[in-house]
């Protein structure tokens, strides 16, 4: 246990760039490595990803392990698990961080099982306990009704981080680091991706929008979302939803915000006819301002918002859209 040292981050590439979540992990990893007086390394898996290893160094990694091979171009659980396990065995870090993403949440438990590691998923905060040197892993439980802080009894201590819960690292192009190629001759692939179907997202990407207007079950039908779209467009924002509108097909499933949907942190989040269930709020709690529109004065969301109005959305939204238009264009 004591020979293990350092922090290792699983880096993800997105459209030939370092993924935003990885930038956050590197910022966090740097801080933890500093507190543990050790080094920060990163593992980059993919095809033709060598080019961004320098960016990963600029963002704080001292060492980058690069597993570069055509088969690794798209995510494969077996192959990524095999590579990550191998690197963790060789680099022997005491802390392993991944994003709580489609990739991280898939392979983290498998890698942990193989390494005999501990694992906390979907963490929102990581700190080093000054007395024991253990990693304190804070994560929402019970859908966000409570926060648990967990400490490991074994090493390595693994965690997946909820996107947008740590400040991104600032790149420093002058940084130097080592790049180490990983032997990828054994990938043990059993399950294969045979087809990928992408659903075109309409308009602005939810995660990048500075304003998000979300509709909930109270919108009661696909038509009501026209008003949501209009308000979003007046404010230059994107449209989101709670689970029910997605399940009902009023909007595409990719609009779902929450614990099992997307995590957004816009400057302004307007929740319309949303009750404020913790599983939904998990996806927007980090927003700058939260505004609630609900016709039930007792709705829980008013306790979680900065501003609210008690009104039927059908009455409130047309007026809000008009007034915002007027204010924004003046």
């Amino acid at each position: 246990m004591s020979e293990r040292q350092g922090v290792l981050v699983l880096a993800e590439a997105q459209e030939a760039q370092v993924a935003p979540v990885t930038t956050e992990l590197l910022g966090l990893g740097r801080r933890l490595a500093h507190e543990l007086s050790s080094a920060l390394s990163a593992l980059l898996i993919g095809s033709g990803v060598g080019g961004i290893s320098q960016d990963v160094i600029a963002l704080g990694a001292d060492t980058v392990y690069v597993a570069d091979r055509p088969e690794l171009g798209t995510f494969n659980s077996d192959a990524y698990t095999a590579v990550a396990t191998k690197v963790c065995r060789e680099a022997a870090p005491s802390v392993v961080l991944m994003g709580h993403t489609s990739i991280g949440r898939d392979i983290a438990p498998r890698v942990a099982a193989r390494l005999g590691a501990s694992l906390s998923t979907d963490c929102v905060d990581l700190r080093v306990d000054q007395d024991t040197g253990r990693l304190l892993q804070t994560r929402p439980v019970h859908g966000g009704n409570a926060l648990a802080t967990i400490a490991s009894r074994v090493h390595p201590q693994m965690a997946t981080m909820r996107p947008r819960s740590a400040a991104p690292a600032e790149p420093d192009p002058s940084r130097n680091g080592r790049i180490i190629p990983v032997d990828t001759s054994v990938l043990d692939i059993q399950a294969r991706v045979v087809e990928t179907v992408r659903e075109e997202a309409e308009g602005l990407k939810l995660e990048e929008a500075r304003v998000v207007v979300s509709g909930g079950a109270g919108i009661d039908g696909a038509q009501g979302f026209d008003l949501i779209r209009q308000l979003a467009s007046v404010l230059g924002g994107a449209v989101g939803a709670t689970r029910l509108p997605c399940e009902q097909g009023w909007v595409s499933p990719s609009f779902q915000i929450g614990q099992t949907g997307k995590i957004v942190t816009p400057d302004l989040y307007i929740a319309v006819a949303v009750s404020g269930a913790p599983q939904h709020m998990a996806g927007c709690m980090g927003s700058g301002y939260i505004v609630a529109i609900n016709n039930d004065p007792e709705a829980h969301i008013f306790k979680l918002a900065d501003f609210g109005i008690v009104a039927d959305y059908r009455e409130a939204l047309p007026a809000l859209i008009r007034k915002c238009q007027e204010l924004v264009s003046s």
Binding site: S77, S102, R105, D106, P109, R110, A112, A113, G116, L119, T121, Q137, R139, P140, V141, H142, G143, N145, A146, L147, A148, T149, I150, A151, S152, R153, Q190, A191, R192, E195, T196, V197, E199, A201, L235, R243, E247, S254, T260, D267, L268, P278, Q279, Y289, V291, H300, F302, K303, L304, D306, F307, G308, I309, V310, A311, D312, A316, A319, L320, K323
Partner: protein, 266 residues
């Protein structure tokens, strides 16, 4: 085809947030009186996935749950939905098990239960929301795993899964036996029928102990846990919750817009 579904009984995740209470000292959640436990919703959908396969072909579906006294209610519910057999794993030794021990116990029971082709789990248990056990079961058994399924087809030794990704889905194929974890996009689980409920009430549900499934007790329970909870707290919401009023809803909306402008939010 032999299908195993792992189900967990939990506190109702959709109970009103005001009912949710914790004992910070003991680092435990206080189960509210009068709110019955439920099957974790993703697990109920995993059962649905199994039954959809069974609707189309010859298959036997067995549900397994590790839990306490009331775990039988969970098994009864899925038997009523159409599951063929149910098994409860219950033993003092299991108390305080973490994801790794739980997966170990489940995999021991799965092996004891007989031949298996497909193992279905929920994407995560909606109490601790860990999302680990299914994948670790696959590791314990040395078989492949596909996570976050929204559709599962299994024929001729292969499972074909539509796996949810952020901007769509991918189709993944794996040789059987395999583990698949099911996401909410699979759709609503079916309701039990009257006949199903009566049939389920008639079935006896075996309870297996650690010894029954040949567990190495040093690998289970609180003592074997790889981590410990050092604090449990309620989240603090630091928003002021100001209600902007107006004579009518429309007027309130106008006042809201002005308020947002005043605070330079828009």
């Amino acid at each position: 085809m032999n299908i195993i579904v792992c189900i967990k009984q939990i506190l109702d995740p959709e109970m009103p947030p005001v009912k949710f209470k914790i004992d910070a000292q003991a680092k435990k959640v206080i189960a509210p009186e009068g709110i019955p436990l439920v099957i974790s919703p993703f697990d109920e959908q995993a059962v649905e996935a199994a039954l959809r396969i069974k609707d189309a072909q010859e298959a036997k579906v067995t549900a397994i749950t590790m839990g306490g006294q009331s775990a039988k209610d969970a098994v009864k519910h899925v038997l009523a939905m159409g599951v063929d057999e149910g098994i409860v794993l219950s033993d003092e030794a299991f108390n305080g098990s973490d994801s790794f021990s739980t997966a170990y116990v489940l995999s021991q029971a799965i092996q004891k239960a007989g031949e298996y082709d497909l193992i279905l789990c929920g994407r995560q248990a909606a109490d601790w929301d860990a999302g680990q056990v299914g994948s670790i079961v696959a590791e314990e058994l040395g078989i492949p795993v596909v996570t976050l399924a929204r559709k599962v087809d299994a024929t001729g030794g292969t499972v074909r899964v539509e796996r949810v990704i952020p901007d769509g889905h991918e189709v993944v194929e794996a040789p059987l036996p395999a583990v698949v974890t099911v996401s909410s996009e699979l759709g609503q689980a079916r309701l039990p029928t009257g006949r199903g409920i009566v049939m389920a009430a008639r079935k006896s549900i075996p309870v297996w102990s650690a010894q029954d499934i040949g567990c190495d007790v040093s690998r289970v329970g609180a003592g074997a846990a790889r981590s410990e909870v050092v604090a449990l707290t309620l989240p603090i919401h630091e928003r002021k919750g100001e209600i902007v009023s107006g004579e009518t809803g429309a007027q309130a909306a106008v006042n809201l817009a002005l308020k947002l402008r005043e605070n330079r939010i828009i």
